[in-house]
């Protein structure tokens, strides 16, 4: 085609992975602009961590003595992983909104990398989550939270939390593609969120739970991420059973979750064109 040939030289996007990355960034940029233009979302995702940090610290703080540890230092890693999990659920809701509004169809009709629709959304949601993580740390600092194990550990702690948020976004991407409407997604995301975030080591040491619950709480990814972060915040602790192995465990969980749910989400996305 002559017209085709005439416009082609202007298409400067590279082929392959570099082109895919360019598309992911374009889609992520669009999603980030949307966050800034949805003041409700921005305000509530800012208020939520502030509220959680203050409420849990002052409500539970007095009731749960943890020898040798300030409760706020115990609490912040739990709050952060919980908030990141809540925040990741926005991936499901945002994706279903795009499906319903026809934006996903617009993307599908364009000569772009197919994976960029999902990956751009996850990238934007992860960046928003990183902001909320940093905000929670900041609020914590105002009421006495301090990293106990040095700067490198502090950075690693934030990276672990962000990686976990990223992995969880893929879980919710798959849920969004399954539920298809924002209303259904809104309801569905709480099914995994509540048991995993509350039956965890987030607010109280798991030893205080009944045996059967303890067995679950100690062997699930949210606890693994919290313990890893806690280890990086507090340093080694025999009483709280914190050690460097937990960082490896949390990394393994995040990569496993990412691997499985990336595959599932991409399959579901492809299948929706059949």
């Amino acid at each position: 085609m002559t017209a085709h040939a005439a416009i082609d030289p202007l298409r400067t996007r590279p082929e392959g992975v570099a082109g895919m990355v360019a598309d992911i960034i374009t889609v992520a940029k669009r999603n980030i602009i949307r966050v800034f233009r949805t003041p409700e979302l921005l305000v509530f995702s800012t208020i939520q961590p502030i509220m959680f940090v203050l409420l849990f610290n002052y409500v539970f703080g007095g009731a749960i003595p943890i020898p040798g540890v300030e409760y706020i230092n115990f609490l912040i890693p739990g709050i952060i992983i919980q908030t990141a999990t809540f925040g990741a659920s926005n991936t499901a809701i945002g994706l279903t909104e795009d499906l319903q509004a026809g934006i996903v169809d617009r993307f599908r009709s364009l000569p772009m990398a197919r994976s960029a629709v999902l990956a751009g959304r996850v990238l934007a949601d992860t960046l928003r989550n990183l902001w909320v993580i940093l905000l929670s740390v900041g609020i914590g600092y105002l009421i006495g939270f301090r990293f106990q194990a040095g700067f490198v550990s502090a950075v690693l702690a934030i990276l672990i939390a962000t990686l976990f948020a990223f992995a969880m976004s893929w879980v919710f991407a798959a849920m969004g593609l399954l539920t298809k409407t924002p209303e259904a997604a809104q309801a569905a995301v709480f099914v995994p969120i509540f048991p995993f975030t509350f039956a965890s080591s987030a607010f109280v040491p798991t030893e205080t739970m009944p045996g059967w619950l303890q067995a679950f709480a100690e062997n699930q990814p949210v606890t693994a991420a919290i313990n890893a972060m806690r280890y990086l915040v507090l340093g080694e602790s025999e009483f709280l059973n914190l050690n460097s192995g937990q960082v490896v465990e949390a990394l393994a969980w995040s990569l496993l979750i990412f691997g499985v749910f990336f595959y599932v989400a991409v399959r579901l996305y492809r299948r929706s064109s059949e």
């Binding site: 085709h4 400067t12 169809d105 772009m112 064109s273």
Partner: protein, 334 residues
């Protein structure tokens, strides 16, 4: 090369046959209309041609490329607008088009240049930096069309572009469509409105229940219908018989009476003389009329004539005259 070649395409969802063996061939250039009621399969067909959906069986080629073999090559050369694709409400008009340009593979400068060009052309330059949620329905539809023009498509697919628009916006969109066609773009357009198809399309295909039920030029289709209808509402229903006698020999087929409403219909086609003659005769016979109308055949009439069942129209129609309304059953598959 043809713009579109469809050979016996089927799309089944379990028991539901959204498309049940459609054949179609569309030459390059001009407007091709796909006409049908809600749920006929128009959107399904459009989605297959735009590579959003895979057919269950059959073959479809767009601009010479098979839709299942190289969908990426097709996407580079087509544009899709209408109910099958959308624009982002929270982005400005310009940001929407810039994003689309980037996703077509243009660099930032070229994407912005094209965005501004297209905004100028669809008369949205002044609203370019406002978020889309402040746009009226007509402006959104124009922006949606603009998004499909950013890639300078050889084939433009428009899925019910004017559904829900007010007459003025509809007119503007039609003008724009005609301009594009003059520049050599091939256009495939789905619509529920006969008037729209009549105004824009050179060739029409009517589909219903996933099958092609008729095809031809708008004039051929209208000829099948018989054209304009004269409708008479008598002051005295007792004179129906007398009126039918008076009208004998006029119109393309004998006048008929609607048992429920008592309305007398006479298909007069393009023959305005028949209208004058009918009124003259009624006047001579001293028949008083409560109401009289001359209406265009509506899509309802097309479907009544072609399929024996009425169209299920969900949007208010611009057409004059009465409409038969039925509850919509299932819409087009998403």
């Amino acid at each position: 090369m043809l713009a579109v070649e469809v050979e016996h395409i089927k799309k089944h969802y379990g028991e539901v046959r959204a498309l049940d063996g459609v054949d179609l061939s569309i030459p390059l250039g001009g407007v091709y209309g796909l006409l049908g009621p809600n749920g006929a399969g128009k959107t399904t067909l459009v989605r297959i041609l735009a590579t959003l959906l895979k057919p269950t069986s059959g073959r479809a080629r767009v601009l010479g490329v098979d839709v299942t073999e190289d969908p990426g090559a097709i996407r580079r050369r087509i544009g899709l607008a209408g109910q099958s694709a959308a624009v982002d409400e929270l982005l400005t008009g310009r940001e929407n088009l810039e994003m689309v340009g980037r996703l077509y593979g243009f660099d930032r400068v070229e994407a912005l240049r094209r965005a501004d060009d297209v905004l100028e052309r669809i008369d949205l330059a002044e609203a370019a930096n406002r978020t889309v949620k402040t746009y009226s329905g007509g402006m959104r539809r124009r922006l949606d069309l603009a998004a499909s023009l950013v890639g300078h498509p050889e084939l433009l697919i428009m899925d019910e572009p004017t559904t829900g628009l007010d007459p003025r916006s509809r007119q503007d969109l039609w003008d724009l469509i005609e301009e594009l066609v003059e520049e050599g773009t091939t256009l495939l357009l789905t619509t529920q409105y006969l008037e729209e198809a009549d105004r824009l399309a050179r060739q029409l295909v009517v589909i219903d229940n996933g099958k092609v039920i008729s095809r031809g030029t708008p004039n051929q289709l209208k000829a099948q219908l018989g054209g304009d209808v004269l409708e008479l509402h008598l002051e005295d229903m007792g004179k129906i018989r007398l009126v039918l006698e008076q009208l004998e020999g006029l119109g393309s087929s004998p006048a008929s009476v609607n048992d429920e409403t008592g309305l007398i219909s006479l298909t007069v086609g393009e023959d305005t003389g028949a209208v004058v003659e009918a009124l003259r005769r009624l006047d001579q016979a001293a028949v008083k009329l409560r109401d009289l109308s001359l209406r265009k055949p509506t899509l309802d009439d097309v479907f009544l004539t072609l399929t024996g069942h009425a169209a299920e129209v969900s949007e208010p129609e611009p057409a004059t005259g009465r409409r038969r309304r039925r509850k919509a059953k299932s819409g087009d598959r998403p």
